[in-house]
């Protein structure tokens, strides 16, 4: 379970995150939906311990992101905004490196890699050097790397950005699968259709604030709009950043 409590973060003049609170329970997909620059990435960075909030707190399974960094990172699989790989290493070596840093035992590490590569349908990619991989192939490696320690909680920052249709479908299947395994999944997106198609719970963020939250149905009811896109526009008050 991931919980944020009144997170604030200011960069110079700009208030990037201005009071963001939400709870993402286990076994649910929680979507952070908002236009570009709304504060989604900063919020996720505060959950992943790398950015210190000016106020408020973030916790993962009860571990505080600022005081118990290792406790949080052990329970969290993160696909950050930056998802670079080591081009001279093979896919397997990339994943193995992070597995070892996560203290996964060697035999378990190899087993888990086989399982993940299978799941992500990247059998023939596993032992090729990452240099020259396509966007989708890279994403698969980055995902495997983030999940290698079997984290209970998964945070994905715009996971379908730059992916083609097939890769996007595979990503969605994976996210549902993680949910069905009982994990807590938080993912951010600026694409309304994607959030609608996937999420059990939507947290709408605009200008650093949570402006609405609830199930897709609840959001429709709340705004009186049958169409979720209309509901979204009504909530954030502009059409900015709605492009699919």
């Amino acid at each position: 379970m991931i919980r944020t409590e009144s997170l604030h973060k200011r960069y110079g003049e700009k208030l990037a995150v201005d009071d963001v609170s939400f709870t993402a329970p286990d076994g649910r997909i929680t979507g952070l939906l908002g236009p570009n620059g709304a504060g989604k990435t900063t919020t996720l960075r505060m959950i992943s311990t790398l950015v210190r909030p000016d106020r408020g707190r973030a916790e993962v399974d009860g571990h505080d992101a600022q005081t118990d960094r290792d406790g949080v990172l052990r329970r969290l699989g993160i696909l950050p905004d930056a998802r670079g790989l080591y081009p001279r290493l093979t896919a397997r070596e990339n994943v193995r490196y992070f597995g070892r840093l996560q203290d996964v035992a060697e035999d378990e590490l190899e087993r888990e890699m086989t399982r993940l590569f299978d799941l992500l349908d990247m059998g023939e990619l596993a032992d090729r050097r990452v240099h020259g991989f396509s966007q989708g192939e890279r994403m698969k490696v980055a995902i495997a790397r983030a999940l290698i320690h079997r984290p209970q909680n998964v945070v994905l920052d715009e996971p379908t950005n730059g992916l083609d249709v097939m890769s996007t479908r595979a990503m969605r299947d994976l996210v549902r699968r993680l949910r069905d395994e009982g994990r807590c999944v938080v993912f951010s997106s600026h694409v309304m259709q994607e959030v609608a198609a996937l999420c059990d719970e939507i947290v709408v963020v605009a200008r650093g604030r949570v402006v609405a939250r609830g199930t897709p149905d609840a959001l429709r009811d709340q705004t009186g709009n049958r169409d979720l896109e209309e509901a979204f526009v009504a909530i954030i008050g502009s059409e900015e950043g709605l492009g699919a």
Partner: protein, 390 residues
């Protein structure tokens, strides 16, 4: 902090670096080029020794100036019969210079007017420069001698015509110049320490951020000191490899150079090389630490590379300082990293052996500074500005 994590990072960085052709090339090329330069310079000195042999000078119209010819012969300039085409001979390098004595020379000479001579030279030919200088000096000497005699004949003190007298005293013997060149080996070895790990240090810091793998790396539950430490050891390992390679190639190069022809008795033994390696290992740790922290601060991979290329010249500073300030090795120098190592290396090269106390101090200082840089790098890895580069 878990040492195991540092080892995981070290292993990954080494595998990564050894697959990187650029990093390997930079670690390999310099150790080959440096010692080669030393050999080339030695060869040049040995060739310059030939200077004391008589200069062969073709002279056109030698019959017009028997006095001059006699003077030249007495000053180790062998007067030769002129070639058919003097200009062509100089241009092609067949003759280093040709002296032309015009037919009116005797007349002008007798009348006490300046008798003009022509010396055909090709200034673009470096190898003829010293011969030309010797001929010029001889002719000037002849002219000066005659002038003095003419003044004396007229009852004038010749010193009136020479208000200033400059005497050049050249103290450099070929042996000393050779010793200077030998003294460059410690500098090459020190530079190798800063070159070997350059790409690893850059790739593991600024490069890691630029390719977007720093943020994912930092969301592992690992002490940042272990991350920085692993990268440090990987950088130092390549640096040390470069140092060892430079020592080996220097040893081979010196053995191939006929130093005895210069009358130098240099024993660059395997033992010396081993001692130099022991002196330099802490320096690799220092160089790696400095490079790591500087490259972490850099805003981009390129910027980091630029900074670190400048750092390559850091080991040249102590040597230059000691030369310009004409300092002799002193005990305090052991406490200054890099300088301490350089003093130790110079002593080994001169065959004075290795002072264990100075080695202990210099090594401790170098490792301490290196370690501080690593801790600093670890702190930087926790800063948002460094992680996200804005």
């Amino acid at each position: 902090m878990k040492l195991r994590h540092a080892m995981v990072v070290l292993r990954k960085e080494l595998v990564d670096a050894l697959r990187d052709k650029r990093s390997l090339l930079s670690a390999l090329v310099f150790p080959l080029v440096g010692p080669l330069l030393v050999v080339v310079m030695f060869r040049m000195i040995i060739e310059q020794q030939d200077v004391d042999e008589p200069v062969q000078l073709p002279v056109v119209g030698a019959e017009h100036a028997p006095g001059l010819v006699d003077f030249l012969e007495r000053h180790e300039i062998e007067v030769m019969p002129p070639p058919d085409d003097p200009h062509e001979a100089v241009r092609t390098g067949a003759a280093k210079a040709v002296l032309v004595i015009p037919a009116e020379y005797p007349t002008r000479f007798r009348e006490g007017r300046a008798a003009e001579l022509e010396l055909l030279v090709d200034r673009s030919r470096k190898e003829s420069r010293s011969s030309v200088q010797r001929v010029e000096r001889a002719v000037e000497g002849f002219s000066g001698q005659l002038g003095t005699m003419r003044l004396l004949a007229r009852g004038v003190d010749p010193q009136l015509a020479r208000p200033v007298a400059l005497a050049r005293v050249d103290l450099a013997t070929p042996q000393q110049r050779a010793a200077d060149i030998l003294g460059m080996i410690p500098m090459f070895v020190a530079m190798a320490a800063f070159i070997g790990g350059l790409y690893v240090a850059t790739d593991g810091t600024a490069g890691e951020r630029e390719r977007g793998s720093l943020e994912p790396l930092l969301v592992n539950p690992v002490d940042r000191r272990a991350l920085a430490g692993g990268k440090w050891l990987a950088t130092a390992a390549l640096s040390a490899g470069s140092v060892v390679l430079t020592l080996v190639t220097s040893g081979i190069a010196l053995r191939q150079t006929p130093l005895s022809e210069l009358g130098i008795d240099v024993q660059f033994s395997a033992m010396d090389a081993l001692q130099l390696a022991i002196v330099m290992l802490p320096m690799s740790l220092l160089a790696a630490g400095l490079q790591l922290v500087v490259a972490t601060f850099a805003r981009s991979f390129r910027e980091a590379q630029t900074y670190l290329s400048l750092f390559m010249f850091l080991p040249m500073l102590p040597g230059m300082y000691m030369t310009t300030a004409s300092l002799d090795p002193a005990p305090w120098m052991s406490f200054v990293p890099i300088l301490g190592q350089q003093v130790l290396m110079t002593a080994i090269i001169r065959g004075e052996g290795l002072d264990p106390a100075a080695l202990a101090i210099a090594s401790t200082m170098a490792i301490a500074v290196g370690l501080m840089c690593v801790l600093w790098t670890a702190r930087l890895f926790g800063r948002e500005r460094i992680i996200y580069g804005n």
